[in-house]
Structure formats: structure tokens, C-alpha cells
Amino acid sequence: MRHGSGIRYALLGVVSRNPEGVHGYALKRQCERTLGSFWQLNFGEIYRVLDRLAGEGLIEQVVVEPESSRKLYRITADGRRSLDDFILAPPTDAPRPLRQELAVKLLFAAPERLPELLRLVDHQRESYMQELFRLGVQRRRLARAAVDAFVTNLLIDGAELAVRAELAWLDEVARKLQERFPPTP
């Protein structure tokens, strides 16, 4: 959910947590804290999304101090309704695709390339283990931080389960490749 409606509603959600309004810098920091683990945040993109939300009337920009030009972003009544609709609608996340690149390599590699294919599987396994390591570091860091990380922990649970499934699949691939192409003595 790196692009599309996810980031749009994530930003709308962050704005909604500031009923008095929030200025750009604080919003940026809140986004990093709340969303930084799940999106590679590009702040140019964030401001484009904010402009679009404002254009649709879901958020508004207000000037609170007349002598200052600083503007605050604040959610509108329409914005609240839209966020509610989004939260209650069924998620549209599709299951993650199989490892397409590995699949293509398997389709077109000859049996004598088995050692190289197994190395590819190993390489993929290592990157998944590194992902699990990062998730673990993130979970322990959250446990030490004095913030409520209930939802973030749920998301980490989900990410761990997904990686676990991929690792189990790689073990299957390695085992079945070896069965299908036994080494010639």
C-alpha cells in the first residue's frame, strides 16, 4: 500500500488527530512517527497529496495568527465523513504476488543450472531474514518508546506472517528443485 488511497487516508488521519489544526512542520514529524515504518515518505509527494485533499474540500488551510502568514491544516466535516467511510469499507489490499522474478528464472533455467538457482533461493532467503531482523528491531524499539503502538504492532505481526510464508515457500522451492533435478553422480 505504498501509493494510492492508503497514503491519502493516512495523511487525512494524521490531520484529523489535530482538531485545532497542525502546521506543516509538525505534520511532517507526526507523519514520520506514525507512518514512517510503513511508507518511504517523500515530502514532495506528501504536499501534493495535501493539496489534492484541500482541493477536494476534505481538509482546509486556516490562518490562526492574523499577523503571521503561517497556515494550519485542519480536517473539514466532509473530510471526517470520508475518513469514516474509508475506515469502515473493506480493505482492497490484494494478496502479495508470488516472487515473479524467481518464477521466471525457474521457468527458463535448464536443470544443470540447479546450483545457481539454489543460490538465488538462498539470496532471497537472506533478504527475508534481514527483513525479519528489521521488524524485530522496530518492535523492540516501540516497546521501549512511551507511545501506544497497538496498531503498529498488529501491522508488524502481519508483516512477520507474510515473510514467514515467503520463507516457507522458498524452503519448498529448494526442496522440490532438488527432488526434480537430483545431482548426477
Binding site: 527475508y128 531474514m129 525479519l132 531482523f133 521488524l135 524485530g136 514467514r164
Partner: protein, 241 residues
């Protein structure tokens, strides 16, 4: 430091011969946290047994802190296991007729430590695993996760240089397993204990800084996990073996 030099371990003979470990070499530096993964029968537990001197290599040598385990006398081996190595098992292995505190204090008592110091160090170890409130309970009155906490306190009470953990989460649910892994991680990070952990669970394996994957007793894959910022321990492990 734990070093394997071309270690082979063969069980049985003739037609029933099993090579549990096949020409394995590695250097595990002091303070490292490694996990060993692999299918059942890949030789994972045998590696821990070899380090603790519970079995001897058929070929090659195992060095613990520079000393060849095979060259130790029975008394030296017993001292190594009691003082330098803490062992954590899947089945907890607590003595049912002793209280939690007595189980934790047992290695100290066997080592001839005087009672006042035993009491102080048991209190400290129980506090470390958040089990002070269960000190007088017997193992049968504790949950699996609590029993494993007691077993970890027992493993740490001698302030060992090395902790060997053989599927310590195998009998626990996920939350219980994670709590145990957090304790082992803390022991490594805060006390600098070298940890070698055998596990089937990739999520728990990823607590380590390096994962060895064994197949048929041989090293199939040696995976370095990413550097955690500000963690000098990880850099120490990098680039080896």
C-alpha cells in the same frame, strides 16, 4: 569465543552411521548472538552438545575460549558447564521437588557458594526475568513461559560467558516465545553474554546478528543480518567467519 575447526561428528557405525556434523568450521566471537537453523536431524543440537562437552568430535576440534574441549578432564568439563556455560532447553528441565528459587540457586550450591551469596544472586536473577513473585512456587505450579523464565534465571545465575539455548521457545505460544526471546536478547545486549540459539522459527532466529543454516550437518548458508545503528556488537561479528 567459540571455534569449530573442521568438526565432524559421526554417530553409530557400519550401515547405521549418521554424520550429524560434517566438516564444520566457524569462529563465533565473544558477545555475538548467533542462531542455528535447519531441518530436523541437521545436527543443530549436536553443535551445542559439542560446545558444552556433552559429546566429543569424531574429527576436528572444538575450542571454547581458546581451550580444546576434547583435552579437558571430567572435572574441568564439569566446571566449564557449571561456570562458563548456561544451558536452556526446550523442556525447561527444572527439578520438580525444588522451588523456583532453589532451582535457580542449584548451580551456585553445587559450586560451593555460601548461602548468603546464593540468596542474593538468586534474588537478582529472579528479578532479571521478572519472576521474584514466584520464588517459592514449584515448577508444576508455573506456566510454561514462567518455567522457561526460571530456567533462564538458572542459566544466568553463574554469570556465564556463553548461553546455549536449544529451541527455548519450542513449547511456548507466540507471545510466551517472544517474551523468552526478549530476555535472551537482553542478556546478550546488557550482559554481553555470547548466545548460540537453535530454533525453527525464522522470526526468533532474526533476533540474532548472524544465522547459520545447516543441512545434513554442513553449513548450507551463513547469513549476516543488518547492522542495527549504534550497536557495536554487530560490527564485531561482521565479516566472520
Amino acid at each position: 569465543m567459540i571455534e569449530f575447526r573442521q568438526v565432524t561428528k559421526v554417530f553409530g557405525r557400519g550401515d547405521t552411521v549418521v554424520r550429524a556434523v560434517a566438516g564444520l568450521s566457524f569462529v563465533c566471537p565473544r558477545g555475538a548472538f548467533w542462531t542455528i537453523m535447519g531441518p530436523s536431524g541437521a545436527g543443530k543440537s549436536t553443535i551445542l552438545h559439542l560446545i558444552a562437552g556433552l559429546t566429543t568430535p569424531t574429527e576436528g576440534s572444538v575450542l571454547v575460549e581458546g581451550v580444546d574441549v576434547a583435552g579437558m578432564t571430567a572435572a574441568e568439563l564439569a566446571a566449564l558447564r557449571r561456570r562458563r556455560i548456561g544451558y536452556v532447553h526446550q523442556a525447561f528441565n527444572l527439578l520438580p521437588f525444588l522451588t523456583a528459587a532453589e532451582n535457580v540457586g542449584l548451580p551456585l550450591v553445587l559450586d560451593g557458594v555460601r548461602q548468603a551469596e546464593v540468596d542474593a544472586r538468586v534474588r537478582e536473577a529472579l528479578a532479571m526475568v521478572s519472576m521474584s513473585h514466584r520464588a517459592t512456587h514449584r515448577p508444576t505450579h508455573l506456566s510454561g513461559g514462567e518455567q522457561q523464565r526460571i530456567a533462564i534465571a538458572r542459566a544466568l545465575v553463574m554469570r556465564p560467558a556463553i548461553v546455549l539455548a536449544d529451541e527455548p521457545t519450542g513449547n511456548l505460544d507466540r507471545a510466551g516465545g517472544r517474551a523468552i526471546m526478549d530476555l535472551i536478547h537482553d542478556a546478550n545486549e546488557r550482559l554481553g553474554v555470547t548466545v548460540l540459539l537453535v530454533t525453527h522459527d525464522p522470526v526468533f532466529a532474526a533476533y540474532a546478528t548472524r544465522v547459520l543454516r545447516l543441512v545434513d550437518g554442513a553449513l548450507q548458508q551463513n547469513m549476516a543480518l543488518p547492522d542495527d545503528e549504534g550497536d557495536s556488537r554487530v560490527r564485531l561479528v561482521r565479516g566472520r567467519p
